[in-house]
């Protein structure tokens, strides 16, 4: 709203700035704090005596002789086998993203060009499935998987994640393909292209913005998922997020909190970098569904 008529009073401007600063503090401070704390020993980050220790690194200095320690990281990554979890996460994420994008683009393109009634029903069903809590689906999967003895391995989890992810990808790409003018591929068809040729040569060059957005969201879903991976994978194959939960410990065995802290930081960092690079796409993807509605 940058136009001459709209003059803001100074008090409003100050209030506005203060509000934004407070919100940014609220939004970012927890992450900065955890990042800072992950280089400390437990006695500092969770200090009973005085929370100020977390900043001055009182106990870290005593225990390790330096203000910062990488102890938590080496513990989690090697002793806690976090490297295994992150390898699994990479496998799961890459497979989920590529499979769901492949299916999603083809499906959404077909749906956006179809004028039939069933296209609408497929989209509606997709919307309903989008609303389902993931855990209800998992409870349906679990039993057949036990019976077929395919529980606990990565491929089944990938299939389930793709299925859960598909409705959202479909909606996002559907609304994206709607914005690609129909005349483009119609003229290609008139020039003698087959449907697949039209898709390959006409649509594929223009669809990348939409596909990148959809890909980012599939990636975030696969990367962040807890429900599915925690229940469908066995201990050996756990991805990062359930692994973090296992560090927390249960009633039976005590966890290693500092491992969890460092694991949280290591799991979150790649995501932050990624979003920093693709910020524009994420935002346009979030709004794609909304602008239409």
């Amino acid at each position: 709203m940058d136009f001459g008529l709209d003059k803001k009073s100074n008090s409003l401007k100050t209030f506005n700035t203060i509000f934004i600063v407070i919100w940014l503090l609220l939004a970012c401070f927890p992450f900065i704090w955890t990042f800072w704390g992950s280089f400390k020993v437990r006695a500092d980050f969770f200090s009973r005596a005085d929370w100020w220790y977390a900043i001055t690194a009182f106990n870290t200095l005593i225990e390790t002789g330096a203000r910062f320690t990488k102890e938590a990281y080496s513990g989690a990554w090697f002793e806690g086998e976090f490297w295994k979890a992150s390898r699994n996460t990479v496998i799961v994420t890459i497979s989920v993203v590529s499979i769901s994008l492949f299916l999603g683009t083809l499906g959404a393109y077909a749906l956006s060009r179809s004028t039939k009634n069933y296209a609408f029903w497929i989209l509606i069903i997709a919307l309903i499935f989008r609303a389902m809590p993931h855990i209800t689906l998992v409870s349906g999967y679990l039993f057949p998987f036990f019976q077929l003895q395919i529980w606990g391995i990565l491929p089944t989890t990938i299939v389930v994640l793709v299925a859960i992810n598909q409705p959202f990808t479909l909606w996002l790409l559907y609304s994206f393909f709607k914005t690609v003018p129909k005349e483009l591929d119609e003229s290609a068809l008139i020039d003698g292209c087959s449907y697949f040729q039209a898709f390959r040569h006409i649509i594929m060059p223009v669809m990348w913005p939409g596909v990148i957005t959809a890909g980012l969201f599939s990636l975030m879903l696969a990367y962040n998922d807890f429900t599915v991976t925690a229940l469908l994978l066995n201990q050996e194959n756990h991805t990062m997020v359930p692994k973090i939960q296992s560090y927390l410990g249960t009633n039976q065995h005590e966890g290693n909190l500092m491992w969890a802290v460092s694991a949280v930081v290591s799991a979150t960092a790649p995501l932050f970098l990624l979003v920093m690079f693709f910020q524009r796409q994420v935002i346009s993807g979030l709004t794609a569904g909304a602008i239409k509605g």
Binding site: N16, W23, D50, G140, V159, Q166, A290
Partner: protein
């Protein structure tokens, strides 16, 4: 898609009619020099045999739905006849696991959704008024809480509000109560989870509102300024009506997401005082002795019913839109 999501729902439906097998008990006579005793033990062999024959468990019909852990129709009617006042009845029903979870889930939905809308809208408005040059990093900072997984987000907050963390310790000093702990009090746990929910979901509302604000036409705004409308009046009469469809969209999405609140409960280790429907299912599925498929499935089906009730108005609207667009 139909195969992988439709089938599991059906499978859940079928499972919900079954319950786990009773263990087969046999009487064993044990004799020792001091006399004979009969004791009842579990016949492991027969139990595992029947488990192999019918892995789903025995057929239970709607039995699982109405048992004590779900709708608890017997208990409810019993309480109804016993209780003298309505308040007493509600209190008793609220202690049954299913209703407890339902109450928490609904409270969470009802409080978090409007807060998310409001906060998101205010942030979007004020960010929109800030100079374009520094907006990029500000937006990045704003959406941070949204992109991390709920489990990680709640853990990060939990470590801070813990009695040994920074906020928790300061709260103790502020309230002058060295034993104050968020974990121990039910009300405080609920408040924490709700605050976390607002914190986590607001960025989403913000992003959508922010994008919608970019599409608000300038002419009516300028005209209203000339007509002497105040800032608040402009927002109320021009901006809000323009982005109204987006508001309903965000409201629905966050309602759906809030209804399946689950990870924060794990993250805050708040199982004791706050349980949601999703958590009930999870708890049944990670049960250590016998996985309670039937029980989990029954809760699932009821959750699905709840979701569809919330969704019906949207579906009707989309259908109308599709009809008119064609």
């Amino acid at each position: 898609m139909i195969l992988f999501i439709g089938l599991p729902i059906i499978s859940t439906g079928i499972q919900s009619f079954y319950a786990q097998h009773d263990q087969i008990l046999i009487e064993v006579k044990k004799c020792d020099p001091f006399g004979c005793k009969t004791s009842v033990v579990v016949d492991q062999e027969a139990t595992s045999k029947i488990k192999e024959e019918k892995p789903l468990g025995k057929f239970n019909g709607f039995g699982t739905y109405i048992d004590r852990n779900h709708l608890a129709s017997d208990q409810v009617s019993e309480f109804w006849s016993e209780s003298k006042s309505l308040g007493e009845f509600i209190g008793k029903v609220g202690n049954l696991p299913f209703y407890k979870a339902l109450v928490f889930t609904l409270t969470y939905c009802v409080i978090v959704t409007p807060c998310v809308l409001l906060l998101g809208f205010i942030i979007a408005l004020s960010l929109n008024a800030i100079s374009r040059k520094i907006r990029g990093p500000l937006i990045f900072g704003t959406i941070l809480p949204m992109i991390v997984t709920p489990l990680v987000g709640s853990l990060v907050l939990f470590w801070m509000i813990d009695a040994e963390g920074i906020i928790g310790a300061n709260l103790q000093i502020l309230m002058d109560d060295p034993y104050l702990s968020v974990k121990s009090s039910k009300a405080l746990t609920w408040i924490t989870i709700i605050i976390y929910g607002v914190w986590h979901h607001s960025p989403f509302a913000f992003v959508v509102f922010y994008a919608a604000l970019q599409t608000v036409p300038q002419e009516p705004l300028e005209a209203s300024i000339i007509d002497g409308a105040s800032r608040f009046q402009r927002v109320k009469h021009i901006v809000l009506p323009h982005i109204y469809p987006v508001v309903t969209f965000v409201a629905l999405i966050s309602l759906m997401d809030n209804f399946r609140v689950f990870e924060p409960i794990i993250g805050f280790s708040a199982e004791g005082s706050a349980q949601s429907l999703s958590w009930l299912i999870y708890d049944n599925l990670v049960n250590e002795e016998v996985i309670l498929f039937g029980s989990a499935a029954a809760t699932s089906i009821m959750t699905i019913v709840g979701i569809s009730i919330i969704l019906t108005p949207v579906l009707l609207r989309t259908w109308k839109e599709f009809r008119t667009n064609r």
